[in-house]
Symmetry: C2
Subunit: 390 residues, 2 copies
Amino acid sequence: MSFHPPQRTLMGPGPSDVNPRILSALGQPTIGHLDPSFIQLMDEIKDLLQYVFQTKNELTLPVSAPGSAGMETCFVNLIEAGETVIVCQNGVFGGRMKENVTRCGAHAVMVEDEWSKAVDLEKVTAAIKANPNAKALAFVHAETSTGVQSDAAALCALARAANMLSIVDTVTGLAGINVDVDGWGADAVYSGTQKCLSCIPGISPVTFSSRAIDVITNRKTPVQSWFLDLNLVMGYWGKGAKRAYHHTAPVNSLYALHESLTIVKEEGLQASWDRHLHNHLALRAGLEAMGLSLIVDEADRLPQLNLVGVPEGIDEAQVRAQLLEQFDLEIGAGLGALAGKVWRIGLMGYGSNSTNVRLCLSALETCLISQGHGIKGGDAVAAANRVYAG
Amino acid sequence: MSFHPPQRTLMGPGPSDVNPRILSALGQPTIGHLDPSFIQLMDEIKDLLQYVFQTKNELTLPVSAPGSAGMETCFVNLIEAGETVIVCQNGVFGGRMKENVTRCGAHAVMVEDEWSKAVDLEKVTAAIKANPNAKALAFVHAETSTGVQSDAAALCALARAANMLSIVDTVTGLAGINVDVDGWGADAVYSGTQKCLSCIPGISPVTFSSRAIDVITNRKTPVQSWFLDLNLVMGYWGKGAKRAYHHTAPVNSLYALHESLTIVKEEGLQASWDRHLHNHLALRAGLEAMGLSLIVDEADRLPQLNLVGVPEGIDEAQVRAQLLEQFDLEIGAGLGALAGKVWRIGLMGYGSNSTNVRLCLSALETCLISQGHGIKGGDAVAAANRVYAG
């Protein structure tokens, strides 16, 4: 029997609400992955990705798999067995980076920070000093598990000053906050489609500096993944090159990515960041009006992903279940060290709008009241409205 | 600017024409990868994949990436460094298997057959005898580069008799010809969505025997790919298990896969195979009527992928270009050893129908005549019609 999904509002950590324009693009008739029209689409996608990543990097392309594969693309191409990588961990995804490093047969030096805090630059400086021969510094710019942003510009500068490569996770960052690949001097950056690009999940945009390309093309050993080996993938995605078959591209998903990038460019990067910030401030006002608080320090907050502390005596899972059943509204649970302690509320891409802010606040208020939390209905939305009224 | 693809007829080696029902399913609103409705969809997909693979294997699921990643999933999970794998090569994809083996740090013993011939059982028997400690026998059931099918039942039996695992590529086989995983006693089998399932490209269905699961769960070393590590993926896809987040599933692509599998089940496997065979016979009659010949021995031909020898004096690339420009019809070029010598004409899934057969025959006839090939127009379609008339 055919499947018909319920109509949800997606305000978790991603996937986020997909713009209907993107769903329409997705469902267009499939063409071949070597069709001249498709080659043109690929060129346009590369140009658009350069725009959103703010880079002139030639090697900028969408990996044909989810963000985790984008992460793996960076590590397996840049790192060889026996090498050392400094990995900053302040959430789930730093831990996943460590897994990637060790599965390359390399050594991970961990720089640990509390979950919900930004990466500490002094600790990183010390780790670099203690491991001057490390090949790379890896960190998460926008931690999807904690809603924290770290100082990517400063971290990339530390890496570069020590002649190390920088590997940057900005799965949740791209198009929601400033991602300035060339300005940072970052070497390898990966993202995802299902966050602030408002596209369907399953594709991972990546970009590599010329310094990174030199490393990839001069490896001593073959890349351990055939599927993710950029030396081979470049033969298909390389501009101007004869497009040699490597694997069959996910044609329809790339229609969707193209449309989502086109939408970002139509709005403009700065306008997109401003919108994410504005809706975050309205949500925050509403949350605070009902006595809830954001757990991340103000300076480190990601506007597109808000970590809200669960009040005493409230069953967080039951609230999420009620939101889904009664309001068709999805918000996220805490992960890892934050499991059971927080909700993750996303305002990403197309979903970063005042309708979603108001829906979320009023629905959450209803759930808290139904669990006996002593708040007054209506205050939250009113507080958000005051922000929107300027 | 938004991209609008041309309306092609896809009769190459894949992607094949996608059923409009599947495109509609694809474009439905995205829901979360942990949504209860999505979990139900996942269970249904697993059941449907068991049906098309003809298996009761519990570990049957779609890998969130194209067929090449499905291949890699099999090798990186089953093979460890230092082990030996016997790899049969009679086309491009056996060579890719070899790459996978060596990138696992393992040793590939190659059994080579001519491209366009089936895997020779006697050579395999000799290789097994010479390498009794090999861990696995890997072969391609349906070679997408040559249109050849090999005897999967016999090859799996040889592996099992020698206490080796069997790893089977049936990317182009599934739903087009009999793929009988349990009947064969195969241990690891991977396929693709963009061939006889008529689904969009980007997903790779795989299935593993309980013997294979034992090997995966008892490895000495971690799987070198975090993204493809089935020990982790099972936590998300495992039935009955608490669905633990591993990576964000490609939600919309799985809507499409579900619909495509539903369509196969509605038709029935035997009916699907019969249809592929019938249209193949009609195409063959038409090709022969215009003096063209299929290069694969009759007994080894894949009905869904027909390798046609390019006649003397014909520029094969120009014919393909003319087909695309004048008829919006895509057929495939030869790969590797067969480059420049053959066309690959697919009749896969939804695209295996009499309209496509007639279109292809008449369009090809037109192109050959325009290149000065001395054939008479109309003969080819007439020959196909005689097959359809019974």
